[in-house]
Subunit: 404 residues, 2 copies
């Protein structure tokens, strides 16, 4: 082996050390193999198929790992999610030992993500959600097309059961009464609005800036005879008008952008009646970190998962009273496993719709997300709130577990 080979091996060693020396081996283009310090039997085997791939990885690993994987220049032996678990755990434990890394992470975070203006939000949302309803229908649940964390009352629940259980949980938390009017911010494919109207006898006005989703939602509500109870509005949540008994937003906050949380709080304050209740359901994290670069470049532009402290920027300036916070993290790991199974079962159809690279990218994204929710890199917060001193919500949570 020549000098370049030795340098490459040394660089891989350094890279592995930076991420906490997880039990990983890396096979280089020349066939040589590097083991992380302290590893004899690697749990994860990576291959880098060309020398340029190595240098791209070293230059900006958080971005290029995904790029190289999507291009087939980096591959993983065995289950990707398990591989990412191992790598993440290394990163997490090296952080726990090093206050420096933590401080550095916080400093990095001072560079706040760009602000999501109404126009930028529209572009961001278009990139992700307008990939085509046909694509999402291949792997989301059939009944409510929920692209958010489900709720597994039992580990054996199917995806359809768990998504219905999530919708039921949201409704029960909000303690809705027949005849009330609910406003939704970010309605997805309209599933929650249909569930609300059908099972709780409420009227719903649902805001969404994804043209394709709104068209789909309207059509489906009409087909199911719910056209009179639901109004789908193709507009930004900041443009909500009217006053409501309940505000609900499931899986939109991730796209709102931290700088706009106060605006969101003011919007809710403006539209919520005195006895109103609200629920915000969002991906979150324990420690503020920027979104993974690859995810934010290729999958979710403009997205950011807040910490619970950051979410309080919505509620505290208004003085809303937070009544209940539930962290559904393990439920999201399970949801993502179900999505990934269906995605893989339909990967040939996805490849027909797009291409091989797209399939690989989404394979990594779904697997990486399973891993992130398993290891605790990401959390899922459901926050229930009302006005201070309000007696609108029952004083115990018993309603969440009542039969019927």
């Amino acid at each position: 082996m020549g000098i370049p080979g030795k340098i490459d091996q040394w660089l891989v060693k350094r890279l592995l050390a930076v991420v906490g020396n997880p039990p990983v081996s890396v096979e280089l283009a020349d066939g040589s193999k590097v083991l992380a310090e302290g590893t004899k039997e690697p749990e994860v085997r990576l291959q880098l198929h060309d020398r340029k791939a190595l240098y791209a990885l070293l230059h900006r690993p958080t971005l290029t790992f995904g790029e190289l994987f999507s291009e087939g220049r980096l591959s993983v032996d065995g289950d990707i999610a398990r591989a990412l678990d191992v790598i993440y755990s290394g990163v997490l434990s090296s952080e726990r030992e090093s206050g420096t890394t933590r401080r550095l992470t916080r400093q990095l975070f001072q560079k706040r993500p760009e602000q999501n203006t109404v126009n930028r939000s529209r572009e961001n949302i278009h990139t992700h959600y307008d990939l085509g309803n046909e694509f999402y229908e291949l792997w989301l649940d059939k009944d409510y097309t929920q692209y958010t964390c489900a709720y597994y009352a039992t580990p054996e629940a199917t995806l359809e059961e768990a998504q219905a259980a999530k919708l039921e949980l949201v409704c029960r938390k909000l303690a809705l009464q027949p005849g009330e009017i609910v406003v939704e911010a970010g309605g997805g494919w309209g599933g929650l609005a249909r569930y609300l109207a059908r099972n709780y006898g409420v009227r719903v006005r649902s805001y969404n800036i994804s043209k394709e989703q709104v068209a789909y939602s309207r059509q489906r509500a009409e087909a199911e005879g719910l056209g009179n109870a639901i109004e789908y509005v193709e507009d930004d949540y900041r443009k909500i008008t009217g006053t409501y008994d309940a505000f609900v937003s499931v899986g939109m906050l991730e796209h709102v952008g931290f700088d706009s949380y106060r605006t969101m709080g003011a919007t809710i304050d403006r539209c919520l009646k005195d006895n109103g209740r609200g629920l915000v359901h969002s991906i979150g994290q324990n420690i503020p970190r920027p979104m993974n670069e690859w995810i934010s470049s290729y999958i979710f532009p403009g997205a950011y998962p807040p910490t619970l402290r950051q979410m309080m920027d919505i509620f505290e300036p208004i003085g809303f009273s937070v009544v209940d916070v539930e962290n559904l993290r393990p439920h999201y790991a399970q949801t993502l496993k179900h999505w990934r199974e269906r995605f893989e079962a339909n990967s040939d159809k996805v490849q027909d719709l797009f291409d091989e690279r797209f399939v690989r990218a989404w394979r990594l994204y779904l697997s990486g997300s399973v891993s992130a929710f398993t290891t605790g890199q990401l959390q899922l917060f459901q926050v229930l709130f009302q006005r201070p001193g309000s007696t609108a919500l029952p004083i115990t949570r018993e309603r969440l577990f009542a039969n019927g």
Copy 2:
């Protein structure tokens, strides 16, 4: 009526306007009566029995209202808690209308309360908790002497039932297993430790800096045959040694001081096993405001009720994963009503132990607290957490409502 009378009346009008013109009348020493702007039939009638009382009230109302009331120079017609509800509601709604007040409040808060060093904590706690066990036994529940928010599974529950239900709720949240070891920060009169040891078969080490409480706790645990399972340590929570399956702190955070939250987080991090769980139960608030001046001068020196955002200073720097937050505000209003009933039924005994002024001060404190928790000036947060990625806690809350 002369000029001084007119000036006094004008000043009362201004004072009432500042607190949002609640439906209040104020009778002055000369017998004249002032109604708040817009009020015809006052819901609350205050009397100021000397002119100096009026000027003291104008000078520094948040401090002197309590002083004057305790001294019998200011009196309230009818139920004090109801009177304070009316006044607080006025303040709250005038704040809702005025962003300026809110900003001002935040600015005021920049003057952080003094830091609670270990020595200062000892003094503060002595002032309040060492008033004598005999005093607290007059009006707290008989079984567990809980001086914290109870849990009313049904509105008809007695104080004893509701305090036992609170202890059960805490244990269930922590998902304790027999043989585990639990550390408690701020153990009160030892009731939670006894409940834990007796009903959950765990060993408990309980830290408390109140000498009288520790002596009482030890004696009672011995008498109930729990001496081997519980160790009561007379020391500061920051001195906790050893590692534990669970950390629990019910009603201590109010006395920790905001500047020490990070230290508290680091203490928990140091003493919690990898599969450990923790629960912090504390009075809180929706918007950061300094503690009422009178309360912090006469009742609870060094106390501060944090917002949920501020509480995150304990968890976020460590990266703890917040699993569940429950706001028990209405339960505290009910607990305080029960305490007040018993306090009033025993007020002659309290007067024998102390004096008339003490009885009046505590009457106001208990009534004011009923009002604060009814109107939403104060909240009660129970925060459950574990390490990121931990699978120690069940993924649903069903255990909280299981029979048995």
